[in-house]
């Protein structure tokens, strides 16, 4: 098991290094930050002085190794735009994004689990069909549109919930729905198909034969087995929502990481882009590593096969 864990950690480290090279290269290919930082009529000596100050005059490889060395020590440099340490800017926004991603997952699961289970148990019923339509709506509608409609209905129209910002639980509701609706369809399908397989299994039929209550069979025996594949997509969706919450964060003025990083991309704020992407990549890799290791713990065949 120890070897399995070490192997997973090594794979994760390689992934992070790969991401750092890719993001470092791509961000520098996207344009010259000095065009955005300096006035349009700045004379060449001012541009040259700024380039030296930011270390952008040095060869690319030297820039990368300097960045990598400093990053290992937790120093991602200062934001070109905000004049604050890039990592500080990113980490200050991380809790808001994690909070939103968690709330979105809670919403997704609280909808997908009952829908998936009931759809399987009552296959072909109106509830099954309604569940499919509801779940598919989440995939069909862009999350910014869901967000805007939710604001117009629940904030402006009914005045039940705030239209923007972060602070109370009420502030979380609309952004969580806007972000969490999308994965509902996939989760519902996974649970439904898993349940359909399990409900036909012999041990469930045996349970019925011996007179075990149906709800115990469904929730205690069938669902626990059917939910295993859900763990995989849960990890992936959670990690993806950390970086993918940008649109929802913008719509709801949610002070999160996704919005910060995307805006940094447009302003060619390399230190913030690098810090933000690496933090998200780190969380993504760690989440997946935990999922992998948990599989290994659950199923010994996995840790021996790999």
């Amino acid at each position: 098991m120890l070897e399995f864990v070490l192997r997973r950690i090594l794979h994760s480290a390689v992934s992070i290094v790969g991401v750092s090279i890719v993001i470092f290269t791509i961000s520098r290919m996207s344009g010259d930050p000095l065009l955005l930082l300096l006035p349009m009529d700045a004379p060449s000596e001012v541009i040259a002085a700024k380039r030296i100050q930011l270390g952008l005059d040095r060869p690319y490889v030297i820039q990368y190794f300097t960045f990598a060395k400093n990053a290992l020590l937790g120093d991602f440099g200062f934001s070109y735009r905000w004049n604050v340490p890039a990592l500080q800017l990113v980490l200050e926004r991380l809790p808001a994004t994690i909070e939103l991603a968690c709330a979105a997952m809670v919403f997704s699961l609280s909808v997908a689990i009952p829908f998936g289970v009931f759809s399987a148990v009552h296959r072909g019923s109106w509830f099954d069909r309604f569940g499919k339509v509801f779940a598919m709506l989440g995939q069909a509608m862009p999350n910014f549109w869901i967000g805007l409609i939710a604001i117009m209905v629940f904030a402006v129209g009914l005045k039940w919930l705030p239209a923007f910002g972060r602070g109370t639980l009420a502030h979380l509701v609309l952004p969580a729905i806007a972000l969490g609706w999308y994965p509902v369809a996939a989760m519902t399908r996974i649970i439904r198909s898993g349940m359909l397989d399990v409900l036909d299994a012999e041990y469930i039929r045996m349970g019925r034969a011996v007179g075990a209550p149906e709800w115990i069979l469904i929730w205690k025996y069938a669902f626990r087995n059917a939910a295993i594949p859900l763990v995989t997509v849960l990890g992936v969706y959670f990690a993806a929502s950390l970086g993918g919450a940008f649109v929802v964060e913008t719509v709801f003025a949610w002070p999160g990481l996704g919005r910060t990083v995307v805006e940094a991309v447009f302003s060619r704020d390399f230190p913030v882009v690098q810090a933000g992407v690496l933090v998200i990549a780190f969380l993504f890799v760690v989440t997946n590593m935990i999922v992998d290791i948990s599989y290994g713990l659950i199923d010994p065949r996995i840790r021996h096969d790999r």
Binding site: G31, D32, P39, P43, S44, V46, W82, V84, L89, A253
Partner: protein, 524 residues
């Protein structure tokens, strides 16, 4: 484009502003709390580090300059009580007397040393993005606590155009708390004191009871500025009452917002001037021919586009906007005349029209910019200037448009450059009308080249007498307009504010960077 924004952001459209009167509420003690919302926020709270025009909306609430535009759009002395231009040893000298009794938020009195400190920071390229604007200042001489002189190596009109450039930055406090300390807790002389800030979330300010200008003390004690970038959400937050004043109502929603009960709105110029520019510098380009450029000018019905695409939130202008330095009421925009456009094209050797790439800035630096560009290119296509439109994101637009790269933009391009308010085209023209001179900053985004205009622009930069300078700018504008040099001017965008008039009193003021937040008050 952004240069005058950084010098002075405010509105150009006095005609659309509500009449200004001194706020009665502002003279009473500040009371209560108010939450307002902006779409954008400042990147820094340090006036010597400002980079973007939006910085000034916020910095300008806490910090002040020697001069400022008044509500009538006329520049007036602010922290300077008086100043004069003289000559010493054949060189220009600005002799400045600063106002007595002005205090910083921490209680320190304002002295000449604070301006010297500000000057030293502004001229340092490692601190300021605008160090080149201090290049013509040879030295700073303190006479006493309230008098100082700026000795110029050569006359520099941009100093006058930029409200005498310098900001009041508290030297003693800054040296005590250091760079980081100042960034965390900035202290100025302005009507608002800094309380706290969360980037991409909110800025909290408190009325400064000791503000020197008693007529313009804030009417609200505690002000929270929320940052809500999405237009629909910002308006929704206003409608729910979560915020009671909003900046930048999107054009498409202005009619709805105006129709809300108890809501008042006002519009002001954004400070940006928009135009279509051409690759005049490429000898083989059809647009090197003046007749083709004029054909574009006659082909586009700017008024119709402003009305339908921008919902009226723009104002036509011819080279220099109304209220700006050198404004000439006799200079009129080109008339929409598609027949004349076709005739000009035929005269230029294109009776069947021509095909050209057209570049459109798609980043919404101003409302509906992308759609406005698309409409203008469609009008051009209708007379035979058939555009293959390519959208450009802001950074790519800058990268491709910059001379020396050398500009990859080989067709008409939607362009903008801030003239500020009260507008001053002198400095922007140095960037987009003067011939490109590598390394000098002249013509860094210019595709025009005319020695006569170059000489006039350079001359205007050295005329420190405001009247004479205005006359020179008027002269340049006429030549520019007559030959459609340096692009065809289209419109100046308007920005609309809305507030809940049952709760809030507000006197919009195109000075104070267009966001005169000290004029906010609470109704009892």
């Amino acid at each position: 484009m952004r240069i005058a924004n950084k010098l002075k952001i405010a509105g150009t459209a006095l005609a659309v502003l509500l009449p200004f009167s001194t706020s009665a509420l502002a003279q009473e003690p500040a009371i209560g709390e108010l939450t307002i919302a902006f779409a954008i926020e400042a990147t820094t709270m340090d006036p010597t580090k400002y980079a973007a025009g939006a910085d000034m909306y916020f910095i300008g609430q806490m910090f002040e300059q020697l001069m400022a535009p008044g509500p009538d759009l006329k520049t007036r002395n602010w922290l300077a009580e008086s100043w004069k231009i003289g000559k010493e040893d054949g060189h220009s000298v600005l002799d400045i007397h600063i106002r007595r009794g002005v205090k910083f938020h921490n209680g320190d009195p304002l002295t000449s040393a604070d301006f010297e400190f500000s000057y030293n920071r502004l001229k340092n390229p490692e601190i300021s993005s605008w160090s080149h604007l201090q290049k013509s200042v040879d030295r700073f001489e303190i006479i006493d606590d309230h008098n100082f002189k700026l000795h110029f190596s050569k006359p520099d009109a941009s100093y006058i155009a930029g409200f005498l450039q310098l900001w009041a930055v508290p030297k003693k406090y800054f040296n005590k708390v250091g760079e980081d300390g100042f960034a965390q807790n900035p202290v100025g002389t302005g009507p608002w004191k800094f309380v706290s800030r969360k980037i991409k979330d909110e800025l909290k300010l408190e009325a400064f009871d000791g503000y020197w200008n008693k007529e313009h003390r804030p009417g609200v004690k505690n002000l929270t500025i929320k940052i809500i970038p999405d237009d629909v959400t910002r308006v929704a937050a206003f409608r729910t009452g979560e915020v009671d004043w909003i900046d930048a109502v999107p054009p498409a929603m202005i009619a709805d917002v105006k129709a809300l009960p108890g809501v008042e709105t006002a519009s002001t110029g954004s400070g940006n001037n928009l135009f279509i520019t051409f690759p005049e510098h490429l000898p083989k380009s059809p647009f090197a021919d003046e007749r083709v450029r004029k054909a574009v000018a006659h082909a586009v019905d700017v008024d119709a586009i402003v009305k339908s695409v921008l919902f009226g939130q723009g104002k036509r202008y011819a080279e220099i906007g109304e209220g700006a330095v050198g404004y000439d009421p006799e200079l009129k925009p080109y008339k929409y005349d598609p027949e004349k456009a076709r005739k000009l094209l035929a005269e230029a050797g294109y009776p069947n029209g021509l095909d050209t790439p057209c570049y459109n800035l798609t980043t919404p630096r101003e409302p509906n910019m992308k759609e406005m560009g698309e409409a203008m290119f469609a009008y051009m296509s209708a007379v035979g200037i058939r555009c293959r439109v390519q959208g450009l994101e802001y950074s790519a637009w800058l990268q491709l448009g910059k001379r020396g790269n050398d500009s990859k933009l080989d067709g008409p391009t939607s362009w903008m450059w801030g003239h500020g308010v009260p507008g001053d085209p002198g400095i922007p023209w140095g960037g987009h009308l003067h011939t490109y001179v590598p390394g000098e900053g002249w013509g860094s985004y210019s595709y025009a080249s005319n020695p006569e205009i170059d000489a006039m622009i350079e001359e205007s930069k050295s005329i420190m007498d405001p009247e004479k300078r205005a006359a020179k700018l008027r002269e340049i504008a006429r030549i520019k307009h007559e030959h459609a040099y340096g692009g065809v001017t289209t419109y100046q965008p308007l920005i609309t504010f809305a507030w809940n008039k049952k709760k809030v009193s507000y006197k919009p003021w195109p000075g104070s960077y267009g966001r005169s937040l000290q004029e906010l008050g609470l109704k009892k």
